[in-house]
């Protein structure tokens, strides 16, 4: 570290500052600083990649239901984002509590207790390691 990886440990300081700032805002902000519209954009990006893979594999797969689900999600994401901004602007503590509670449990909604097909330990329906990549 001292000679090659991080002379003066300056990069360590930078990472420390970054993680501290991130942890501070996640723990202390009046409104949990999650970006739901961005979560929707990310889903759309994954979906686009899926469509590319399907095309490349030259199979027929109906993705209409998935597309519709993502559209619904994007709508709801925009709605709660608006609600959150309003709550923050008007300092409505009841509304802030509701939004924070929903934000906190956001990712839980993607968990299926049964897990993925033939891989019950991977329960998050959005992300999992590659079937044969191990990561």
């Amino acid at each position: 570290m001292t000679n090659f990886g991080d002379p003066g440990f300056k990069l360590h300081t930078v990472m420390g500052q970054f993680v501290a700032l991130l942890a501070y805002h996640l723990a202390d902000d009046t409104l949990i600083p999650f970006d739901m519209p961005n979560a929707a954009a990310v889903l759309r990006a994954y979906f686009a990649e899926l469509e590319d893979s399907i095309e490349a594999a030259e199979v027929q797969l109906d993705t209409a239901e998935l597309q519709a689900a993502i559209d619904t999600f994007a709508e709801r994401a925009a709605a709660i984002d608006m609600m959150a901004r309003n709550a923050l602007a008007s300092n409505d503590s009841v509304m802030l509590d509701v939004v924070n509670h929903k934000y906190k449990s956001f990712q839980r909604g993607f968990v299926s207790q049964g897990g993925l097909p033939r891989r019950p330990t991977f329960k998050n329906l959005l992300m999992a390691p590659g079937l044969d990549s191990g990561t």
């Binding site: 300056k10 930078v14 600083p33 992300m127």
Partner: protein, 95 residues
């Protein structure tokens, strides 16, 4: 982690993973969708050491490698137990 699942799933807001957080001057970040924005915003607030000429901020040093794309989490580090139980996470690795 599984021993504390009921407590974690009701209380945790997010999990910050640091896996060899420094091994060189390039940062790699991966995370769940809702947390990208705050993570990138905080990178913009941290000054990067001038001598590497990658700055001025940590965000600048990261951006040109990744073109602003934050990849999803797989299972390559400790965050897996959290993300697979529905706790959003950010993973910071230095490549």
């Amino acid at each position: 982690m599984e021993d504390h699942l009921p407590w974690l799933t009701t209380t945790a807001v997010a999990y910050l993973n640091l896996d060899i957080a420094v091994s060189g001057p390039r940062t790699a970040l991966a995370g769940t969708g809702e947390i990208h924005t705050i993570a990138l915003d905080m990178m913009k607030k941290v000054l990067f050491p001038e001598e590497y000429n990658l700055g001025p901020t940590l965000y600048d040093s990261w951006y040109d490698r990744n073109e602003g794309v934050v990849p999803p989490l797989g299972s390559g580090s400790d965050y897996a137990a959290f993300s697979q139980n529905g706790i959003g996470a950010v993973s910071i690795i230095s490549p």
